[in-house]
Assembly symmetry: C2
Homo-oligomer: 345 residues x 2
């Protein structure tokens, strides 16, 4: 399997993140991608290709133009207002009874408007790294459009929490959604997205919620227990033309492979019935038993089984990297999915 990777992710390196009421070294760290790349090479998964240059068009097929413009200049505006000593963080959010129809003019207001959490800092290199991650996904997508059976987009920062017009959960541009839309624009009639990250892919779901041409299926920590809390329930099934094209499998803390496999089998059956031309896997390995911020109990060998189960559908498959914060094992676990896929293909 070919992997696509870009060094540009190093430009996004948070000073800290706010979690459990304190500032701690960031879980979403450049070393994650380095460990992934090292394991891709050590396991001889296949050649590693650089990301190709791509304009903003495929990003704007998924994201709001105002949001994209904001991301491009947010750091400069932050520095003009507050200096460059600290990363840019928002302070408040438009919840119940508040308006969403007016976009503030000041950078603090814009950060608040265009975000949904307090743990996703913006810094000098964020836009550079985020667009590079989108280019990684798009380059890998092109490999499949050109005939490859599978490819791995080693994206960082991740993307599945980013919606049409807001960021959060370490995500700025929704790499998986951008790739799925690019598949559609390249002629695929139906695209399925399977999100196996521990956290619900709220951004991806929202982007395709009213569409039948992109199926979204997610297996994740139950939102009544887990971030992002406010999306990912079983009764979310899509709306309008998209009704019946979203499936959620919220699973409780402590879920092990036995319980997980049951959901995965069901999820894959839905995808099979949909008969997509191509499949995008939002690949998070924070379902791992030793993940520092997650509470599932998957083990190393389970990732091999996951890859094999996905391969049995026989659909061209793009793997897009999402989360996973047990940094020492992230490479082994993610590459196990890919090796399992290859072995069963």
């Amino acid at each position: 399997m070919l992997t696509v990777y870009s060094d540009a992710h190093h430009a996004h390196h948070a000073q800290f993140e706010l979690i459990d009421g304190k500032l701690v070294p960031p879980f979403e760290h450049p070393r994650r991608a380095e460990m992934l790349l090292a394991q891709v090479q050590q396991a001889n998964l296949g050649e590693v290709l650089p990301a190709k240059a791509v304009g903003l068009e495929p990003i704007l097929r998924v994201h709001d133009p105002g949001y994209v413009a904001f991301l491009q200049t947010a750091w400069q505006e932050w520095v003009a207002a507050h200096g460059d000593e600290t990363d840019a963080l928002p302070l408040n959010w438009a919840t119940r009874t508040m308006r969403h129809d007016r976009i503030p003019e000041t950078i603090d207001g814009k950060l608040s408007y265009y975000s949904f959490d307090a743990g996703t800092p913006i810094m000098a290199g964020t836009w550079h790294a985020a667009t590079a991650a989108a280019r990684v996904a798009l380059t890998a997508q092109q490999l499949i459009t050109d005939g490859a059976a599978a490819a791995f987009g080693l994206c960082r920062p991740p993307g599945h929490h980013a919606a049409r017009d807001f960021y959060g959960g370490y995500c700025f541009l929704n790499n998986a959604a951008i790739a799925a839309q690019a598949f559609r624009d390249a002629g695929a009639a139906r695209v399925a997205i399977l999100d196996v990250d521990y956290h619900h892919g709220n951004g991806t779901q929202a982007i395709f919620y009213d569409r039948s041409d992109v199926l979204f299926v997610s297996i994740h920590g139950h939102p009544k227990q887990e971030y992002p809390y406010f999306l990912g329930y079983e009764d979310e099934r899509g709306s309008g033309a998209g009704e019946g094209y979203t499936y959620n499998y919220p699973l409780l803390w402590g879920t092990d492979w036995g319980m997980y496999e049951e959901a995965l089998t069901d999820a894959l059956q839905h995808i099979q019935r949909y008969a997509p031309d191509v499949m995008v896997i939002s690949l998070g390995v924070d379902t791992f038993e030793k993940d520092p911020i997650s509470k599932f109990r998957l083990r190393g060998a389970d990732y091999h089984r996951m890859g094999a189960a996905i391969a049995r559908l026989g659909i061209p498959t793009l793997f897009v990297m999402e989360g996973g914060y047990a940094v020492e094992e992230i490479g082994v676990n993610a590459v196990n999915v890919l090796l399992g896929f290859e072995a069963a293909s």
Copy 2:
């Protein structure tokens, strides 16, 4: 003028707050109330009375029972999950495309659901202090219901950002709204609230937005520039039965007394036409030129003028303390409003 004060506010003392991307000593600090009390005494404003015991009923007339139950146990739940080393802070919020109809079961999820900003920590004494502030407001309200022409509820923590079911902006229980409702429940037909805090009183506005029996009028930093960003525009005029009973005066950074007085005069005319039985002033003095987090340019003597203008309406008036973060001057400025009121009464 009588003042009501409770020492209990000391129990709410944040370790830090997150502002401009860094953790800093909290602006909303117990010393604020101490400076206010000292100036009340030094200026011989009048006797200082303790807060009377009050049950939860008047609080539940304004706030959601689930929210009140959450506030009562939030710290214990936080400690059970994360220990008592750090204050409890939320992490993410339900913005566009997210659900508000399911309340998470875990404390991190509940903090996220019941809040709207990342700068309002909960600690061991928060519930105790917040209910004491509500009791301060209610005790002062009772003085007026019993015949006093004016009273000062020296509340801390403040209240006007707290809505029916969420906290934020240093506010947990909406002291002014609770007092306004108590006036209604004690027989006042019409209550007017004038909010002169630098920040829009989004919580108060939302609580009474669809009601004609409580007029809400606010003069504040324009939401296109200032926190809380997502409420406080001029076109918000109330809804349903409340249509025409909300007035907002959003003013731009740099506003001085000349510009402010124009808005105040207009605001007071609306209140006069409404002919309320009683008036509640949400008294913030963060409109002060030296306030560290605000950008208006009011000076010391302007607060005297503000109090005099309010007094000229000749309506029984409850002053409820809200914001003001220039700690050294907070007492002088707030008491200047009260002295100006007394002099013109």
